[in-house]
Assembly symmetry: C2
């Protein structure tokens, strides 16, 4: 008889939004591709009764067989102790590291609850919100106004992943990102389209595989010339030639996530703090 890895329930428990617990918890679970997990996020656990309800939920998940895994970012001694009473594997993502930091910094951590994802750094927060507005205004070359404010101009043929990458950079890092869609009109010239030439140092290109581009375009306009493999092959070859001639760095979006592309773009244009 071959043994199959049992399913596990993973809980992400937080006194705030649960985003930190989910991010690190999922990063950890990704290392165990052989195990399947069902996931449950329990945010805003900031009182003992709420923590007691969490304990009941964990134990009910555990009653069906395997022990649940609990990732927690709950601060406060009493809340932590309440949750740890549940029969489960407890992975405390904060407390241990906070103790290490207290030692290194020679000061104690603030006891305030749930301050991780509050508006906090207000300046930076509003910059992120403005960046989202900017991204929408400059989506798909709708407007060249204020292009000189752009930190990044993403250049690519239609449907190569410009928009999600733009939104990620705006929302996560507050960067002002404009899009420039390459169309047939942009290729006859030797170099970059004239509107872009002065922003060349901030341009970053995207490409993908002809097959992938054709699939995505078929979803939008089935059986069009626009979506044909021949047209996609041609456009991508021209775009890559253009990037090379104009010395614009570029990545292939078919093998990278928006998070990875964003990290590469910031690295390449030296936009990282």
């Amino acid at each position: 008889m071959s043994a199959r890895q049992p399913d596990r329930t993973a809980f992400f428990v937080s006194d705030s939004t649960g985003i930190t617990a989910e991010t690190l918890g999922n990063a950890l679970l990704a290392n165990f591709p052989g195990v399947t997990f069902s996931r449950r996020t329990l945010p805003f656990i900031d009182s003992v009764p709420a923590a007691q309800a969490v304990v009941r939920e964990i134990e009910s998940a555990g009653a069906s067989g395997t022990e649940p895994i609990v990732f927690s970012t709950v601060k406060g001694h009493e809340l932590g102790a309440t949750i740890r009473a549940a029969r489960a594997t407890h992975i405390d993502l904060l407390s241990g590291h906070l103790t290490e930091l207290e030692g290194a910094l020679g000061t104690t951590a603030s006891e305030q609850l749930g301050q991780f994802h509050t508006v906090g750094d207000t300046e930076r927060y509003f910059a992120r919100m403005r960046a989202v507005e900017y991204a929408i205004e400059h989506d798909d070359g709708q407007s060249f106004r204020a292009l000189d404010q752009a930190d990044v101009v993403i250049v690519a043929p239609s449907r190569c992943g410009k928009t999600p990458t733009t939104m990620y950079l705006a929302l996560q890092y507050g960067l002002l990102v404009a899009n420039y869609p390459l169309t047939d009109d942009d290729y006859p010239t030797e170099g970059l389209p004239r509107e872009l030439e002065r922003y060349r140092a901030r341009c970053f290109g995207l490409t993908t595989t002809p097959l992938r581009l054709s699939q995505v375009r078929h979803e939008r306009r089935a059986n069009s010339t626009y979506a044909s493999l021949a047209q996609c092959t041609l456009e991508l070859r021209r775009a890559e030639d253009l990037y090379r001639r104009a010395h614009i760095p570029f990545v292939n979006s078919s093998t990278k996530s928006v998070e990875e592309m964003s990290a590469v773009i910031m690295q390449s244009l030296r936009l990282r703090p």
Copy 2:
């Protein structure tokens, strides 16, 4: 002489995008509001020479006085050991927890590098990308087409924070989110605008303070009636009355971040996994 907390350099070192290291590292640092940190993210550290360059950079930051703090999510024994040779306080965000998980799951973690933020769960990834497209198509009620696909319809007067919250829910969680901007035409009726009535169970309202709304609107249209405190006060009162009458849950965006609003919305509409 009064002693001032010295500035510290915090490094986020990753063999992948650095997003996990930044997220948890910043969450930890937020507990020490009395200390000022300069931050430096070093992503894609996936070779020994790259790790050696990191060591040089950490030591050069430390040469000026206080010991740097290094948050790392680098997998692989040799890379980890190389980086830990740098004089610094090292907070390893993965290894310890991975060992705990190996024990609990009775299996060893995969040794593959940099798999945390790759396309990985392809299905879920494409759902997020499609959700961003959907959000842009349905931004500010531009289109009622396919509203019946929406997981959430965010309802609010202009400039209350609909768009960034929509984008966050789409990009982070792959939820299909539509916007409905409340205008003067929407208030005379007793309940929800007719187009929305059938989607009531998926509606969520936003409000803010009149002062904040007026400030944000002045940035857009200075000295307009639209931005006047009187108009903002009136619109917000009407909107909140509408939410209450129609039993639509709502939050105040002036005291919550997009991350928090997103968590509240998912919780309230039971959209959390």
